[in-house]
Symmetry: C2
Subunit: 402 residues, 2 copies
């Protein structure tokens, strides 16, 4: 008998039919003699609807009250799933985040899980019940409802799996697994049998949002085997674990991120400390930057370029306004008409020429590269947005079809 | 400085405009230097919508999961009200039933409040915050979410008022107070300045559903002064307390209940024990009966007639089917084409002729009486439904306009 944690996202429980589909998956797992803990997100657009309702009243409401508001979403979905499982004739109980033992920081709307104390879950499993847990939510030390931020239900599932030493943590989504490229763009994209935590992390940060990043980090830390699979197609998914079987493969995937902006600060004095000051302005506003390039100094000034999420561009401009004025830099140029294309693979560490092969594919397709960044297991390039899909196909074919 | 508990029903917070209206009332009370605890129901039709959603999936779901489902409704409304109060610039915090210290029985969907431990509420009041509490819900000893059943938010408000020795408990509704008759029927109906707990209880059981009955019983037990008033009209309401100022008045109101059915069981053997068996069948099904009449025995048989809620008539017929067959009673006659008209008043205890005056009013209006029941402070008659409004007007004029 194994302990299996299964996580279902909002679209998997969007309506009554989908809820019964999930109930079917869960009860079949239970029928095989497993202990089953199920983590569920709020139905479909519920969270967005609740946020809109709150914004109608007060767009500047405290984060504490926003958490109180949106946490109602999972409460509805866990009850409905439990009711569906009851209908199928199985013993079941639904638990809110705090009932399931989720203790978090008090950073409302983006709380960190401090600890999961799964005593109630264990008690219910001992009674042979299927346990349904509200994802995305927990309780602060002040006994206030907190939420983990977007994608937090993945993290909830992995945290339970870690706290209870689960044998497997299955993340059900609307795709069948992790692919070598987005199957909607690249017809020949292949489903990976397995992928390592590190590769998955690089893919996630690069726009292939199959799994929430924090959940993969946590799975890596506690060595929890994850499986990414579809709630609508009955087929094995992709296993995420320490060592990928595919290691001999040069790269494990091509990812595209079009939610990206390029910012260039022109004419910064070429003296120590100015880059630090620039990026400390940004981090003070919680703006994450990705690729950073600095030009070689010339005429006593230099240029610094970086990329950030497209929807933070206004914040970047606001944060850098007085930097420009006080430092005496010349101007800020920015564009959201760009896309970031990345290749990921633990294999490239030990293989020279991977980046070259990527650049060759882009050259063959006559696609211009604006910026380049590399890490041990990835290579990212910034190109014009209009070329993005063509670039993904060209690179994918170069690595997987030759 | 006083401690005031204010309760707002679902229609008072049905949309953003209404929520801000309530926020205005609350903050004006706070501005007068009072400590304010606010109890809120779910918005508008939220509870019904959630129940429908649950029924779509499983109409026979466990009560425990049904409570989990509907309790999400108040969670949304307390957060929205808190956000509105924040928008007005006041310190505020919203609390779920369990956070506010509501400990209940584990009779899901109809739980009884065992205790309110208001330590968190007190701590928040000490910080000069307005405290918003989710009505209708609590926590069982098993740490499961419970609900108090329909109208439970009134009871929540009174329970907090009792636990915290509040100076006043204001119940805001969509009427301006308690009237001598339904103002929609009787143009001359007068708003009462005050009414006693007992009178209010009799009015409530008789279809004048201004206040939930359990809340009045609890207010009486702990001697909590209630005020019934409108959230839309800024005017004093009706005070409910131990002794009404209006005691010299003969009656305090005329009430109509058309949600009533009359049932007659014909030809019951005129021997001991048959009435007991009949009503035990009904109470086993949780069917409340009101007026009971038994005919004088004749030819060795007797007839028993009673009234019940109209929507329980099918249950009554089902419950009595085998009673009829096994006991050998002749038949069951029933009708929902009836209305119950009642007059209530502590004054009638010490005044003879009150019932006579009521009957005279009905006779003047040529309205036929089908059944009569009396208690120390009320007289009820059953008449044809079509005569109901005419009867209320006639009786009201007789007592209040002469």
């Amino acid at each position: 008998m194994s302990l299996i944690v299964q996580k279902f996202g909002g679209s998997s429980v969007a309506n009554a039919e989908r809820v019964f589909n999930v109930a079917g998956i869960v009860t079949r797992t239970y029928d095989k003699g497993n202990d089953v803990v199920v983590v569920v997100s709020a139905q479909g657009d519920t969270t967005d609807d609740l946020i809109a309702k709150g914004n109608e009243i007060n767009p500047n409401a405290s984060k504490r009250e926003r958490d109180m508001l949106v946490a109602a979403g999972e409460q509805v979905s866990i009850a409905l799933l439990a009711m569906a499982i009851e209908k199928l004739g199985y013993p079941v109980v639904s638990l809110l985040g705090w009932q399931a033992g989720f203790q978090t920081s008090s950073a409302h709307t983006a709380a960190r899980i401090r600890r999961v104390v799964p005593s109630r879950i264990r008690k219910e499993l001992d009674k042979k019940r299927i346990v349904i847990v509200a994802g995305f939510q927990g309780l602060s030390r002040y006994d206030d409802i907190t939420t983990l931020g977007r994608g937090g239900s993945d993290t909830s599932a992995v945290a339970i799996a870690a706290a209870m030493h689960a044998d497997l943590c299955q993340i059900y989504t609307d795709v069948e697994g992790v692919y070598t490229a987005d199957p909607r763009i690249v017809k020949n994209a292949k489903k990976l049998e397995s992928i390592s935590y590190d590769e998955m992390l690089e893919l996630a940060t690069m726009g292939a949002q199959v799994l929430n990043n924090r959940s993969v980090e946590m799975a890596k830390k506690y060595n929890i085997e994850l499986e990414v699979l579809s709630s609508l197609v009955d087929a094995p998914g992709t296993i995420v674990k320490e060592k990928s079987k595919m290691e001999k493969m040069l790269i494990s995937g091509v990812a595209k991120d079009t939610d990206v902006a390029r910012v260039s600060v022109i004419g910064i004095p070429d003296e120590p400390g100015f880059a630090f000051k620039l990026f400390s302005k940004l981090s003070a506003k919680n703006i994450n930057v990705d690729i950073i390039l600095q030009s070689i100094g010339r005429d006593g000034t230099k240029d610094i370029s970086f990329t950030c999420a497209a929807d933070r561009l206004d914040d970047v401009n606001a944060a850098l306004k007085d930097y420009i004025e006080n430092i005496g830099a010349k101007e800020i140029l920015s564009s959201t008409d760009v896309a970031k294309i990345s290749i990921v693979g633990a294999g490239m560490e030990s293989h020279a020429g991977v980046a070259t092969k990527m650049f060759e594919a882009l050259y063959d397709a006559q696609i211009n590269i604006r910026m380049i960044a590399t890490s041990e297991i990835k290579v990212s390039v910034l190109i014009n947005k209009k070329d993005a899909d063509r670039a993904v196909s060209a690179i994918h074919d170069k690595f997987f079809e030759q």
